[in-house]
Symmetry: C2
Subunit: 252 residues, 2 copies
């Protein structure tokens, strides 16, 4: 049996507001969860400032290395929105006005003061791009080859992801199951390692917590095969019980 192909993605988060700590990023988790449903694994994230060379560098490194590259941020109408220009530069193509985007924006702003120069900026795309529908506001997202250019505002990005659902080629989704236990992870690290080793094709992550005055941990088992996942979870639960600990299916 050959291994099924694994599809990979990277995310470039573009924005001084994340690097200054002003804004708590929510797109990493949102895009990671969505990608997993598409059978695509998020393998790397880079957060870069609103500086053209930094964006170009990250985009070129990531688009070459992964099947898909998503970007968030920097596609609005103001002077600090330079993502489209930077990605066009990375691709070596011109920035052009996309006629469909300009028509969309025209309709959207008809009742909102009309299309001005700043608003028309949001119809600019790297030459050769397609649009990604945005049902939340006027400005669309942009697809160019394996690059998906999304908004920075999380609920707008969510709408763009919805529009893309089921359209990207992916592989088997990574399934996961969680076993929780009120135990310090440092007491059962051997059990975790041996259980993972005995179930090739699984990974077990250990996530400790401190709650209600007690320490515990959730053990997240990941695999593309449900049956393997179940067997591994059972073995881990049995192992915990053999050490006198109660295993909580689904996590704590």
């Amino acid at each position: 049996m050959t291994s099924p192909r694994i599809y990979t993605a990277a995310l470039a988060v573009i924005g001084d507001e994340i690097l200054s700590g002003r804004t708590q990023d929510k797109n990493i988790a949102q895009i990671a969860l969505w990608l997993n449903l598409q059978g695509i694994r998020l393998r790397e994230v880079r957060v870069v400032p609103d500086v053209e060379d930094e964006i170009v560098g990250a985009v070129n490194a990531l688009r070459a290395r992964y099947d898909y590259l998503f970007t968030t941020g920097g596609i609005g109408p103001t002077h600090d929105d330079i993502t489209v220009d930077a990605i066009a530069k990375a691709l070596g193509v011109d920035v052009v006005i996309h006629p469909e985007a300009s028509a969309l924006l025209n309709r959207y702003y008809e009742s909102r003061g009309g299309l001005n120069e700043a608003r028309l900026r949001m119809a600019r795309v790297p030459d050769g791009a397609d649009l990604i529908p945005n049902r939340m506001s006027g400005a669309p997202g942009i697809r160019h080859g394996n690059i998906f250019i999304m908004a920075g505002v999380p609920h707008i990005t969510a709408g763009m992801l919805d529009a893309l659902s089921g359209t990207l080629e992916g592989g088997l989704p990574l399934l996961s199951t969680t076993v929780g236990c009120w135990v310090p992870e440092s007491e059962i690290s051997e059990l975790l390692a041996s259980t993972e080793k005995a179930h090739e094709g699984t990974q077990i992550g250990s996530y400790p917590f401190f709650r209600e005055g007690k320490v515990g941990a959730n053990f997240v088992i990941r695999s593309t095969e449900q049956e393997l996942l179940d067997r591994c979870a059972l073995a881990l639960s049995d192992g915990l019980r053999a050490m006198g600990r109660e295993a909580v299916a689904g996590g704590i």
Copy 2:
């Protein structure tokens, strides 16, 4: 007048739990805010999986390029905690048991079942490292040259940052002030660009929002000089008023 030196940092977030979307990262914003208070600017973040070669690659790229490199995650007692080994590999040094760390852990676990092999893993450091105090739990953080190896759990990282406060050489902190306005950012993008241009040494970020059924934006002005910041904020507020818009000092 020569420009004052700008001190820079990068952050490598190490952990499959962030890339899978299971855990919402909180360390980026926390470390960004703390760094700014130290007069250090966070310039880049990379999120990488629990895979040795990926950690080595990110660490070597980032430690060379920025004054400081912080890492979070992967320093616990279980098999998936490989940060210390990966960083030692990146540095080309051995992993050794730090005697002070092993003494700390010994004391901490005296009343908690004793030090076992897994717990002793948390005393392992890249050869030549110093410890970063951790008042929250037994395992210390680690400093090696310009690399600061921190916990993944945010409140433990917070304690380590506290312990480091005031010990890193920094420059002038980046100050900021916010002007808010109930205006679509696309109506005043020219004003933003011209105001920034007229105040060299400032950057203006535009952060739109949709609230109470209305659109608005906060304009965050950043500079290392308070007087310049104040002048720029005043000019922007005057400009907004000249367009018939009310400027809200401090943001909306």
